[in-house]
Subunit: 154 residues, 2 copies
Amino acid sequence: MKELFGGPGRVSGLLLRLGQCLFGCASIGVMISAPGFFNSTAFCYLIASMGLEVLWSLGLAILDLHALSSKKNLQNHVFLSLFVVGDWVTAILSLSAVCAAAGVTVLYARDLHSCKKPPYISCNEFQLSVALAFISWFLLAISSHVMFWLLATI
Amino acid sequence: MKELFGGPGRVSGLLLRLGQCLFGCASIGVMISAPGFFNSTAFCYLIASMGLEVLWSLGLAILDLHALSSKKNLQNHVFLSLFVVGDWVTAILSLSAVCAAAGVTVLYARDLHSCKKPPYISCNEFQLSVALAFISWFLLAISSHVMFWLLATI
Protein backbone atom coordinates (compact mmCIF):
# COMPACT_ATOMS: atom_id res chain seq x y z
CA MET A 1 0.00 0.00 0.00
CA LYS A 2 1.56 3.27 -1.18
CA GLU A 3 1.44 6.19 1.26
CA LEU A 4 0.87 9.17 -1.01
CA PHE A 5 -0.44 12.61 0.01
CA GLY A 6 -4.14 12.83 -0.85
CA GLY A 7 -4.58 9.09 -1.42
CA PRO A 8 -7.88 7.35 -0.59
CA GLY A 9 -8.45 6.44 3.05
CA ARG A 10 -5.96 9.06 4.32
CA VAL A 11 -6.56 12.24 6.36
CA SER A 12 -5.02 14.39 3.59
CA GLY A 13 -7.37 12.75 1.07
CA LEU A 14 -10.35 13.46 3.31
CA LEU A 15 -9.30 17.12 3.71
CA LEU A 16 -8.93 17.50 -0.08
CA ARG A 17 -12.46 16.09 -0.60
CA LEU A 18 -13.93 18.35 2.09
CA GLY A 19 -12.19 21.36 0.50
CA GLN A 20 -13.69 20.46 -2.89
CA CYS A 21 -17.19 20.29 -1.33
CA LEU A 22 -16.74 23.53 0.59
CA PHE A 23 -15.50 25.64 -2.32
CA GLY A 24 -17.97 24.00 -4.73
CA CYS A 25 -20.92 24.85 -2.44
CA ALA A 26 -19.62 28.40 -1.93
CA SER A 27 -19.33 28.86 -5.70
CA ILE A 28 -22.91 27.65 -6.26
CA GLY A 29 -24.21 29.86 -3.43
CA VAL A 30 -22.54 33.02 -4.76
CA MET A 31 -23.66 32.32 -8.35
CA ILE A 32 -27.28 31.74 -7.30
CA SER A 33 -27.24 35.00 -5.31
CA ALA A 34 -26.28 36.96 -8.46
CA PRO A 35 -29.37 38.30 -10.27
CA GLY A 36 -29.58 37.33 -13.95
CA PHE A 37 -27.15 34.41 -13.88
CA PHE A 38 -29.75 32.24 -15.67
CA ASN A 39 -29.46 34.42 -18.79
CA SER A 40 -26.13 32.78 -19.61
CA THR A 41 -25.82 29.04 -20.39
CA ALA A 42 -22.21 29.06 -19.12
CA PHE A 43 -23.26 30.15 -15.60
CA CYS A 44 -26.03 27.50 -15.45
CA TYR A 45 -23.48 24.91 -16.62
CA LEU A 46 -21.10 26.05 -13.84
CA ILE A 47 -23.81 25.46 -11.23
CA ALA A 48 -24.62 22.00 -12.65
CA SER A 49 -20.97 21.01 -12.86
CA MET A 50 -20.17 22.24 -9.34
CA GLY A 51 -23.25 20.36 -8.10
CA LEU A 52 -21.89 17.14 -9.62
CA GLU A 53 -18.44 17.79 -8.11
CA VAL A 54 -19.92 18.44 -4.65
CA LEU A 55 -21.94 15.18 -4.78
CA TRP A 56 -18.96 13.13 -5.99
CA SER A 57 -16.54 14.63 -3.44
CA LEU A 58 -19.03 14.26 -0.61
CA GLY A 59 -19.47 10.57 -1.46
CA LEU A 60 -15.71 10.00 -1.46
CA ALA A 61 -15.29 12.01 1.75
CA ILE A 62 -17.80 9.70 3.48
CA LEU A 63 -15.93 6.68 2.05
CA ASP A 64 -12.60 8.10 3.33
CA LEU A 65 -14.13 8.71 6.75
CA HIS A 66 -15.45 5.15 6.85
CA ALA A 67 -12.05 3.76 5.78
CA LEU A 68 -10.25 5.87 8.42
CA SER A 69 -12.59 4.85 11.24
CA SER A 70 -12.60 1.13 10.35
CA LYS A 71 -8.93 1.14 9.17
CA LYS A 72 -9.89 -0.39 5.81
CA ASN A 73 -7.59 -0.33 2.79
CA LEU A 74 -9.18 1.33 -0.26
CA GLN A 75 -6.12 0.95 -2.50
CA ASN A 76 -7.10 -2.05 -4.59
CA HIS A 77 -7.36 -2.09 -8.38
CA VAL A 78 -11.18 -1.98 -8.61
CA PHE A 79 -11.62 0.94 -6.20
CA LEU A 80 -8.75 2.93 -7.73
CA SER A 81 -10.07 2.44 -11.31
CA LEU A 82 -13.47 3.70 -10.17
CA PHE A 83 -11.94 6.72 -8.38
CA VAL A 84 -9.75 7.56 -11.40
CA VAL A 85 -12.63 7.47 -13.91
CA GLY A 86 -14.95 9.47 -11.63
CA ASP A 87 -12.29 11.99 -10.68
CA TRP A 88 -11.17 12.60 -14.26
CA VAL A 89 -14.68 12.96 -15.68
CA THR A 90 -15.64 15.36 -12.86
CA ALA A 91 -12.36 17.31 -13.13
CA ILE A 92 -12.64 17.81 -16.90
CA LEU A 93 -16.31 18.85 -16.61
CA SER A 94 -15.46 21.28 -13.78
CA LEU A 95 -12.53 22.84 -15.62
CA SER A 96 -14.60 23.28 -18.77
CA ALA A 97 -17.43 24.89 -16.76
CA VAL A 98 -15.04 27.20 -14.87
CA CYS A 99 -13.35 28.33 -18.09
CA ALA A 100 -16.62 28.84 -19.97
CA ALA A 101 -17.95 30.96 -17.08
CA ALA A 102 -14.63 32.83 -16.86
CA GLY A 103 -14.73 33.53 -20.62
CA VAL A 104 -18.25 34.99 -20.34
CA THR A 105 -17.32 37.01 -17.22
CA VAL A 106 -14.28 38.51 -18.98
CA LEU A 107 -16.46 39.30 -22.00
CA TYR A 108 -18.94 41.19 -19.80
CA ALA A 109 -16.35 42.92 -17.63
CA ARG A 110 -13.55 43.79 -20.09
CA ASP A 111 -14.82 43.51 -23.64
CA LEU A 112 -18.42 44.79 -23.43
CA HIS A 113 -17.92 46.95 -20.28
CA SER A 114 -21.36 45.78 -19.10
CA CYS A 115 -20.52 46.15 -15.38
CA LYS A 116 -20.45 49.95 -15.45
CA LYS A 117 -23.43 50.78 -17.63
CA PRO A 118 -27.11 49.81 -17.40
CA PRO A 119 -28.55 47.21 -17.37
CA TYR A 120 -26.02 46.49 -14.61
CA ILE A 121 -24.65 42.94 -14.47
CA SER A 122 -23.49 41.38 -11.19
CA CYS A 123 -19.86 41.12 -12.31
CA ASN A 124 -18.43 40.91 -8.78
CA GLU A 125 -20.57 37.89 -7.89
CA PHE A 126 -19.73 36.18 -11.18
CA GLN A 127 -16.00 36.75 -10.65
CA LEU A 128 -16.11 35.52 -7.05
CA SER A 129 -18.09 32.42 -8.03
CA VAL A 130 -15.64 31.59 -10.84
CA ALA A 131 -12.67 32.06 -8.46
CA LEU A 132 -14.22 29.73 -5.84
CA ALA A 133 -15.03 27.14 -8.52
CA PHE A 134 -11.44 27.36 -9.77
CA ILE A 135 -10.10 26.59 -6.26
CA SER A 136 -12.51 23.65 -6.02
CA TRP A 137 -11.31 22.35 -9.41
CA PHE A 138 -7.65 22.79 -8.38
CA LEU A 139 -8.16 20.61 -5.28
CA LEU A 140 -9.94 18.01 -7.45
CA ALA A 141 -7.07 18.10 -9.96
CA ILE A 142 -4.63 17.20 -7.14
CA SER A 143 -6.85 14.24 -6.14
CA SER A 144 -7.15 13.07 -9.77
CA HIS A 145 -3.40 13.09 -10.34
CA VAL A 146 -2.71 11.24 -7.08
CA MET A 147 -5.32 8.58 -7.99
CA PHE A 148 -3.92 8.16 -11.51
CA TRP A 149 -0.38 7.84 -10.13
CA LEU A 150 -1.53 5.25 -7.55
CA LEU A 151 -3.38 3.24 -10.24
CA ALA A 152 -0.32 3.26 -12.51
CA THR A 153 2.06 2.16 -9.74
CA ILE A 154 -0.13 -0.33 -7.85
CA MET B 1 11.15 0.10 -22.71
CA LYS B 2 7.35 0.01 -22.58
CA GLU B 3 5.56 -0.20 -25.93
CA LEU B 4 2.49 1.98 -25.41
CA PHE B 5 0.27 3.52 -28.12
CA GLY B 6 1.28 7.17 -28.59
CA GLY B 7 4.53 6.89 -26.63
CA PRO B 8 7.55 9.01 -27.59
CA GLY B 9 9.65 7.76 -30.49
CA ARG B 10 6.80 5.68 -31.96
CA VAL B 11 4.85 6.10 -35.21
CA SER B 12 1.54 6.44 -33.30
CA GLY B 13 3.13 9.18 -31.13
CA LEU B 14 4.33 11.00 -34.24
CA LEU B 15 0.85 10.80 -35.81
CA LEU B 16 -0.76 12.17 -32.62
CA ARG B 17 1.67 15.12 -32.62
CA LEU B 18 1.06 15.83 -36.31
CA GLY B 19 -2.71 15.70 -35.70
CA GLN B 20 -2.36 18.21 -32.85
CA CYS B 21 -0.40 20.58 -35.16
CA LEU B 22 -2.84 20.17 -38.04
CA PHE B 23 -6.03 20.80 -36.07
CA GLY B 24 -4.38 23.58 -34.03
CA CYS B 25 -3.29 25.40 -37.23
CA ALA B 26 -6.75 24.91 -38.78
CA SER B 27 -8.39 26.35 -35.65
CA ILE B 28 -6.11 29.43 -35.72
CA GLY B 29 -6.72 29.90 -39.46
CA VAL B 30 -10.52 29.74 -39.15
CA MET B 31 -10.54 32.09 -36.13
CA ILE B 32 -8.33 34.67 -37.85
CA SER B 33 -10.59 34.58 -40.94
CA ALA B 34 -13.62 35.55 -38.77
CA PRO B 35 -14.13 39.33 -38.71
CA GLY B 36 -14.28 40.85 -35.23
CA PHE B 37 -12.67 37.99 -33.33
CA PHE B 38 -10.30 40.48 -31.63
CA ASN B 39 -13.25 42.07 -29.80
CA SER B 40 -13.34 39.11 -27.43
CA THR B 41 -10.46 38.26 -25.09
CA ALA B 42 -11.46 34.58 -25.12
CA PHE B 43 -10.96 34.27 -28.89
CA CYS B 44 -7.54 35.98 -28.72
CA TYR B 45 -6.61 33.64 -25.87
CA LEU B 46 -7.68 30.65 -28.03
CA ILE B 47 -5.34 31.78 -30.82
CA ALA B 48 -2.43 32.26 -28.38
CA SER B 49 -3.04 28.92 -26.71
CA MET B 50 -3.37 27.02 -30.00
CA GLY B 51 -0.17 28.75 -31.18
CA LEU B 52 1.66 27.43 -28.11
CA GLU B 53 0.22 23.94 -28.66
CA VAL B 54 1.26 23.92 -32.33
CA LEU B 55 4.82 24.96 -31.45
CA TRP B 56 5.12 22.35 -28.66
CA SER B 57 3.65 19.53 -30.76
CA LEU B 58 5.78 20.44 -33.78
CA GLY B 59 8.91 20.30 -31.60
CA LEU B 60 7.97 16.86 -30.26
CA ALA B 61 7.02 15.63 -33.75
CA ILE B 62 10.51 16.56 -34.98
CA LEU B 63 12.02 14.78 -31.96
CA ASP B 64 9.88 11.68 -32.66
CA LEU B 65 10.96 11.73 -36.31
CA HIS B 66 14.61 11.98 -35.26
CA ALA B 67 14.19 9.12 -32.76
CA LEU B 68 12.46 6.95 -35.40
CA SER B 69 15.10 7.57 -38.08
CA SER B 70 18.07 7.05 -35.74
CA LYS B 71 16.33 4.34 -33.65
CA LYS B 72 17.02 6.25 -30.40
CA ASN B 73 15.17 5.52 -27.15
CA LEU B 74 13.42 8.59 -25.71
CA GLN B 75 11.89 6.75 -22.74
CA ASN B 76 14.25 7.77 -19.98
CA HIS B 77 13.27 9.59 -16.78
CA VAL B 78 14.58 13.03 -17.76
CA PHE B 79 12.92 13.12 -21.19
CA LEU B 80 9.61 11.73 -19.87
CA SER B 81 9.48 14.26 -16.99
CA LEU B 82 10.02 17.07 -19.50
CA PHE B 83 7.33 15.71 -21.85
CA VAL B 84 4.84 15.26 -18.98
CA VAL B 85 5.28 18.80 -17.64
CA GLY B 86 5.11 20.37 -21.12
CA ASP B 87 2.16 18.24 -22.21
CA TRP B 88 0.13 18.92 -19.06
CA VAL B 89 0.75 22.66 -19.04
CA THR B 90 -0.14 22.89 -22.75
CA ALA B 91 -3.19 20.61 -22.37
CA ILE B 92 -4.65 22.56 -19.43
CA LEU B 93 -4.06 25.90 -21.20
CA SER B 94 -5.66 24.54 -24.40
CA LEU B 95 -8.71 23.14 -22.61
CA SER B 96 -9.24 26.38 -20.71
CA ALA B 97 -8.96 28.40 -23.95
CA VAL B 98 -11.33 26.07 -25.83
CA CYS B 99 -13.92 26.23 -23.06
CA ALA B 100 -13.68 29.99 -22.63
CA ALA B 101 -14.15 30.45 -26.39
CA ALA B 102 -17.00 27.91 -26.39
CA GLY B 103 -18.69 29.76 -23.49
CA VAL B 104 -18.54 33.06 -25.38
CA THR B 105 -19.72 31.42 -28.64
CA VAL B 106 -22.73 29.87 -26.86
CA LEU B 107 -23.48 33.25 -25.25
CA TYR B 108 -23.52 34.95 -28.68
CA ALA B 109 -25.39 32.17 -30.49
CA ARG B 110 -27.96 30.98 -27.92
CA ASP B 111 -28.29 33.53 -25.14
CA LEU B 112 -27.95 36.89 -26.93
CA HIS B 113 -29.08 35.63 -30.39
CA SER B 114 -26.40 37.85 -31.93
CA CYS B 115 -25.94 35.64 -35.01
CA LYS B 116 -29.29 36.52 -36.54
CA LYS B 117 -29.53 40.25 -35.91
CA PRO B 118 -27.20 43.15 -36.79
CA PRO B 119 -24.36 43.74 -36.14
CA TYR B 120 -23.88 40.19 -37.44
CA ILE B 121 -21.26 38.10 -35.66
CA SER B 122 -19.36 35.32 -37.47
CA CYS B 123 -20.87 32.55 -35.34
CA ASN B 124 -20.18 29.77 -37.85
CA GLU B 125 -16.45 30.53 -37.97
CA PHE B 126 -16.28 30.77 -34.18
CA GLN B 127 -18.04 27.42 -33.77
CA LEU B 128 -15.83 25.71 -36.37
CA SER B 129 -12.67 27.12 -34.79
CA VAL B 130 -13.74 25.94 -31.32
CA ALA B 131 -14.56 22.46 -32.68
CA LEU B 132 -11.16 22.16 -34.39
CA ALA B 133 -9.39 23.37 -31.25
CA PHE B 134 -11.32 20.80 -29.21
CA ILE B 135 -10.13 17.96 -31.49
CA SER B 136 -6.56 19.26 -31.18
CA TRP B 137 -6.89 19.34 -27.37
CA PHE B 138 -8.36 15.79 -27.35
CA LEU B 139 -5.33 14.43 -29.23
CA LEU B 140 -3.03 16.27 -26.81
CA ALA B 141 -4.97 14.83 -23.85
CA ILE B 142 -4.26 11.29 -25.15
CA SER B 143 -0.54 12.10 -25.43
CA SER B 144 -0.48 13.62 -21.92
CA HIS B 145 -2.10 10.58 -20.32
CA VAL B 146 0.23 8.16 -22.13
CA MET B 147 3.28 10.18 -21.02
CA PHE B 148 2.05 10.35 -17.42
CA TRP B 149 1.39 6.59 -17.40
CA LEU B 150 4.87 5.89 -18.85
CA LEU B 151 6.52 8.16 -16.25
CA ALA B 152 4.65 6.45 -13.43
CA THR B 153 5.54 2.93 -14.61
CA ILE B 154 9.13 3.47 -15.80
